[in-house]
Each structure stands twice: as structure tokens, then as C-alpha cells.
């Protein structure tokens, strides 16, 4: 009963005119930030932090939270329309989403992404309210060993993502892992493969590489001779804007599973939310009757990861609201916003700041409602954007990406690096290497290496910690099982191929 009282209190706070306005502003800015390639949530929240100086703290945090989950809605837009994932979480959305757009089904892809996000957002908000406190234990149960095993599992997901050669996919993951090694070593501070370039001292930014291998490479490829025909075709065959009955039927189970996976993984601080979207994608691909549809415009491949990343975005508030510990960089900024207002969140933040906590939880639900109301009508506008001639579209994307990358660190070198990665990505396309596993390797690499080393430091070099700790052992077992499942079909296919050849 206390829960209802709390929720009622939360809604009373969230429904005050100023907080509703803040929520709307957050949702709008979040959508905008998500849509603009390169401009990440971290940069935006950082930029908007000073504005919150003059606002009441609850309103300020409601707005910042709105930007964070609003960007998850908007992030799918560029992934689907122009194949540029703005955040690590929307990489997998680009795989099937952009294929759908090429088939003239950008409308249904965008709509299902919004619907899935809305559903996941609602469920996750309820989860935070009902189970937030007990779920905190999960966040604390994950030590370095568990995170390492989770990241291994994540890398296996990355293999499953591949639709072509498994060998080449693994090569791309390892390439990504190598790229992630650039920068300062966490334990010794030694500079690794940074060649004394100060901008490389902290490693390659995700946005830099993603804009390069996805955004710029895609543009350069589209400028090739012969590709023009293809593009004009896309522009002509845009069909319905909204998903069909069959689309909805196909997506519903995917949305449900994505929501569950995302909600669980989101709670884990420091990296859980990152793998939520491709865990969901992998699950769908494994469960599908015909996995070959994935990567070629399967609507489940959009619905599941989009639901998962939005669910994870919401549940990642749990460690912040119950422990007072920010689980990722955006949350750390929110803690900054709270400290500016003289509130330092801690384990007692729920008791000490009920207005803030419950108001924020209630506002998340309202925010999700606003976002779906904003985003569904926008689908029509986005799809119309595809009709803009490509000769005008591509220089605009180049400029937007360049500004976006520059804004992340105010570093011109990052922009040049993104250009270099654009050429690398162009080369990769020409040699049929997929960029998605590369990006995932890059995102997971540091998490995996750092946690491995932390675990071994704490265990004094005893490798058995990874199997003697039950959670870690379970994760590794799942990883091993998935790897077998991923490799078996290719082996079988090879055998069949050989068989067919010898028959013929």
C-alpha cells in the first residue's frame, strides 16, 4: 500500500505544470539529440547542466532524465533512415532497420521502434517502482568476475549478429577489441598505441569510430557509380507508414522478450545496458524459425533491441535511485546536477528525497507517453526526408556528423579520425567485412579487459574465480552454449555444401 501512496505522491509531483513542461522539454531535446548523428546524450546532458542551475532540482532532473530516455527513441531514427547509429545501443537497430528502409518500409520500422520503446518504458517504470529496492542486490552481486563473464557472453552475441562468414565476423570483433586498446592502460596508466597524440590518450571515441565506419563509409559507398540506381529505387517505393497487422503480430513476442532482457541487464551498472540491445537481437535470431531473414529487414530485429535499450535506459536508474551510485556517464552527470542543487544522492535518497525519487519515476511514465505522441507523427516527416535527393542529403549528413563528433570533446582531431575510419569502413565494405561486430568489440573490449584484470588482481591471479563464482559460471556456460550453436550451423552448411558439390 505504501507503494501506491508513493506513486500517488510521485504523480502529484510530476503533474505540476512546471514539471510537466520540464518533462516535455526533456523528451523533445532527447528526441532531437537522438536524431542528430554524433551528438550523444552525454555531451548534451553535460551542455544542459548549467541551464538546470536556475531550475528547481526535481524539474531539472526530470528534464535530464527525459533527455536520456528520449534519446533512446530518437537514436533509432538515424540508424534506420541513414544507417548511422548515434549510440552503442542503436548499432543493432541499424542492421535490420536500415534494410527495412531500403525496402521502403522505413515507416513501419520507425513506428515499431517507438511502440516497442513505449511498451518497454512503461514496464520498466513499473519495475523500478515495485522492485527497485530488492533489485539493487543484483547490482551489488556483480563483481569484476561476473562482468568479465557477461562481456564474454556479449562478444558471443556479436558473433551471432553476423549474417555472413563467422570467421570474418570474429576477425572484426578482434579488430574492434584491438582498437579499444588504444589509449591509457587502466592499471599502469601507460599509453598504448596512442603515438603521443594527446587526443588518443583516452582512446578512440565510440562516436568517432561509429560515425566513420557506419556514417561516412555508407556515404562514400553510396557515391560509387552504380549505387545511384539503388538509391532512386528506395525513394520511389516507400509504402505504408504504419506497421501492418502482420508486423504487429511478428513484433509482439520480440517486444516482450526485449523488454525482459533489457530490464534485467539495465540494472547492472557499468556496461549492462550496453549489451541489452544485442542480447535481445541475438535471442530473436536464435528463436526465429528462419534466422536468415535477420539482417535483411526483419521487423523483430528492430522491435527487440529497441525495446531492450529503452527498458535498460529506464532500469539503469535503479542503482542511482537506491544506492546513490551512478551506473554510467549520463547518470554521473545527473549526480552532478543534484550536487549543484546541494543534494548528494546516497542509499537514503529514497527516504530523504521522496519528491525527487517518486516524482522522477512518475515522470518517466509521463515522458514515455509524451515520446510516443511526439514520435509517431514524426514518422511521416522522417520518411518524407528520405525523398530529399541524395545529392543534397549526403553533404548535409557529412556536416551534421562532423559537427556532432566535434561537439563530443571539442577536438578537431576526432573529426579527422572519423574521416579516416570512414575510409577504413569503405574498405571493409568492399571486402565484405561487417562493421557491426567491430563496433561491439570496441565497446566491450575495455569492459572485458578491465574487469578481467580487476578480477585477477583481487583473486591474486587465480583464474578459477570465473567458474567458482556461481553467477559468473552460469554466464560463461551460456556463452559456451551460444558459441556452439553459432558455429554448428556453419559447419553443417559447409558439410552440406560439400555434399551438394560431390553429388553434382
Amino acid at each position: 500500500m505504501e507503494l501506491f501512496a508513493n506513486l500517488a505522491h510521485g504523480f502529484a509531483v510530476a503533474f505540476s505544470p512546471i514539471n510537466l513542461l520540464m518533462c516535455l522539454v526533456g523528451a523533445l531535446v532527447g528526441t532531437l539529440v537522438g536524431v542528430l548523428p554524433g551528438i550523444g546524450t552525454i555531451a548534451t546532458v553535460a551542455m544542459l547542466l548549467p541551464i538546470t542551475f536556475g531550475l528547481p532540482p526535481v524539474g531539472a532532473l526530470i528534464m535530464l532524465a527525459g533527455i536520456y530516455y528520449g534519446a533512446q527513441y530518437g537514436g533509432s531514427t538515424t540508424s534506420i533512415l541513414v544507417n548511422i547509429p548515434g549510440e552503442a545501443t542503436s548499432v543493432v537497430t541499424a542492421l535490420d532497420g536500415h534494410q527495412m528502409a531500403k525496402q521502403g518500409r522505413a515507416g513501419p520500422a520507425l513506428a515499431i521502434a517507438a511502440i516497442g520503446s513505449f511498451f518497454a518504458g512503461c514496464v520498466a517504470t513499473v519495475l523500478i517502482a515495485v522492485l527497485g529496492a530488492p533489485l539493487t542486490k543484483l547490482a551489488l552481486a556483480f563483481g569484476p568476475a561476473e562482468y568479465f563473464s557477461l562481456m564474454v557472453l556479449g562478444l558471443i552475441f556479436a558473433v551471432v549478429l553476423a549474417k555472413g562468414s563467422v570467421l570474418k565476423a570474429i576477425a572484426m570483433i578482434v579488430f574492434g577489441l584491438l582498437l579499444s586498446m588504444v589509449g591509457s592502460d587502466i592499471e599502469t596508466g601507460a599509453s598504448r598505441m596512442a603515438f603521443n597524440i594527446p587526443e588518443l590518450a583516452d582512446g578512440l571515441g565510440f562516436a568517432t569510430v561509429a560515425m566513420g565506419v557506419f556514417g561516412f563509409a555508407e556515404i562514400i559507398r553510396n557515391l560509387d557509380h552504380g549505387a545511384e540506381m539503388n538509391r532512386n529505387l528506395v525513394q520511389q517505393k516507400i509504402t505504408g507508414l504504419m506497421p501492418t497487422r502482420k508486423d504487429i503480430a511478428d513484433s509482439t513476442p520480440a517486444i516482450l522478450r526485449g523488454t525482459v532482457l533489457g530490464s534485467i541487464l539495465g540494472i547492472l551498472p557499468g556496461g549492462g545496458a550496453v549489451i541489452a540491445s544485442f542480447a535481445a537481437y541475438t535471442l530473436e535470431k536464435k528463436l526465429a524459425k528462419n534466422p536468415s531473414r535477420f539482417g535483411r529487414g526483419a521487423i523483430e530485429g528492430v522491435a527487440a533491441p529497441e525495446s531492450a535499450n529503452n527498458a535498460a535506459a529506464q532500469t539503469s536508474f535503479i542503482p542511482l535511485l537506491t544506492l546513490g551510485i551512478p551506473p554510467n556517464a549520463v547518470m554521473a552527470l545527473m549526480v552532478g546536477a543534484m550536487t549543484i542543487h546541494g543534494i548528494v544522492p546516497g542509499p537514503q535518497v529514497m527516504q530523504k528525497q521522496p519528491d525527487l525519487v517518486w516524482g522522477m519515476i512518475a515522470s518517466m511514465w509521463i515522458g514515455n507517453l509524451m515520446l510516443i505522441i511526439i514520435n509517431l507523427p514524426l514518422v511521416g516527416i522522417w520518411v518524407r526526408l528520405l525523398r530529399v535527393p541524395y545529392r543534397l542529403m549526403f553533404p548535409s549528413i557529412v556536416v551534421f556528423c562532423a559537427i556532432g563528433i566535434y561537439s563530443v570533446n571539442n577536438a578537431p582531431v576526432d573529426v579527422v579520425l572519423a574521416g579516416v575510419f570512414g575510409l577504413v569502413g569503405y574498405w571493409l565494405i568492399k571486402h565484405d567485412f561487417e562493421p557491426a561486430p567491430l563496433l561491439l568489440g570496441m565497446v566491450l573490449g575495455p569492459l572485458m579487459e578491465e574487469n578481467l584484470r580487476r578480477a585477477l588482481l583481487i583473486s591474486r591471479g587465480d583464474w578459477s574465480v570465473f567458474v567458482s563464482r556461481p553467477l559468473s559460471a552460469v554466464l560463461l556456460a551460456i556463452a559456451a552454449g551460444l558459441l556452439v550453436l553459432a558455429v554448428l550451423p556453419t559447419l553443417r552448411a559447409k558439410r552440406d555444401e560439400v555434399f551438394v558439390e560431390s553429388e553434382g
Binding site: K168, F216, L392, F394
Partner: protein, 166 residues
């Protein structure tokens, strides 16, 4: 992304026993990347005691990539595969030039000049571009960016050339 380029096969300079040039060259390039990484991380400290040291993980992954690259190249020998697709020079050149120009110009010349110039340079990457149209759209886009980024999103970036303000 993997719709295999289906342009006419270019004249191959590779020997006949390379049956899948795309994979063969791709694998070799990965091996080159791996060797480069091995060289670049050779100055880093390796394992000492149970502590990993800075160099262990990069070298481990570099060796792994070397093996995988070798595997991909081997597939290119054993399995018939597509030829290396043709590269065009115009798109990559102008898009890269636009990016580099933007990077060089944003701090000294400001957003307005660099965004517009980058737009025009990039636009030259396609032979479909019509000059007047591109100038108009580029100007509108620049105006939009000049309002959107510094004002709506509050990003701190210079707007106009430095020597004009002072």
C-alpha cells in the same frame, strides 16, 4: 551492408591460385593490421606476477587477429569468392576533404564558414550535384546549424572567424 559488390570484375593482378581475391586481400590486410598492432604495442610491459601489465591484452588480440586474418586469407585461396570490387576516387576524396577541412577550420574560422565550406566540398563528391541548388541548400543548412547547435543545444563552439571578432 554486405550486399556483395557486383560490379564487373577488375583485372586481377593476383596469381591464379587465389580463388577468392576479396577474402584473400581482406585477410592479408587484417594480418597487416595485426602486425602493426604488435609492433605498436611492443614497447609495453607484459605480464609480471599475476598482474597483466599494459601490453598483454593488446598483444594477445593482435596475435589472435593475425591468426584470424590468416584464416580469412586461406579461405580466399581455398574457396572461390568474389573479386575485389572497383573503388571510385571521387566520393572518398571529396568527402574526406570536407571532413578534414571542417576539422581544420572549426576552431579558427567558426561554425558558419566551416559548415558551409564542408557542405560545398562534400557536394562535389557526386557528379549529380547542381551548383546553385547546393549553394542554396548549403546556406540554409548552415543557418539551421548556426541556430541549432550553439543556441538550442548550447554547445560551446565559435560561430565566426576569430580574426573578425577581435
Amino acid at each position: 551492408m554486405s550486399d556483395t559488390p557486383s560490379e564487373a570484375p577488375v583485372k586481377s593482378i593476383l596469381p591464379k591460385w587465389v580463388r577468392g581475391p576479396q577474402d584473400f586481400v581482406g585477410g592479408l590486410a587484417m594480418m597487416a593490421v595485426a602486425l602493426f598492432a604488435l609492433w605498436a604495442s611492443s614497447d609495453l610491459q607484459g605480464m609480471h606476477g599475476f598482474s597483466f601489465g599494459a601490453g598483454t591484452a593488446p598483444r594477445m588480440f593482435a596475435v589472435l587477429l593475425l591468426l584470424l586474418g590468416g584464416g580469412v586469407a586461406l579461405m580466399g585461396v581455398l574457396q572461390a569468392g568474389p573479386h575485389i570490387a572497383a573503388y571510385s576516387w571521387r566520393g572518398p576524396l571529396f568527402v574526406s576533404a570536407a571532413i578534414v577541412f571542417f576539422a581544420l577550420a572549426i576552431r579558427p574560422l567558426g561554425l558558419v564558414v566551416s559548415a558551409f565550406a564542408a557542405f560545398m566540398i562534400a557536394a562535389m563528391g557526386s557528379q549529380e550535384t547542381k551548383l546553385v541548388e547546393a549553394v542554396i541548400v548549403g546556406a540554409c543548412l548552415t543557418l539551421g546549424c548556426a541556430l541549432l547547435f550553439p543556441y538550442v543545444l548550447g554547445l560551446p563552439m565559435p560561430m565566426f572567424p576569430r580574426f573578425l571578432i577581435q
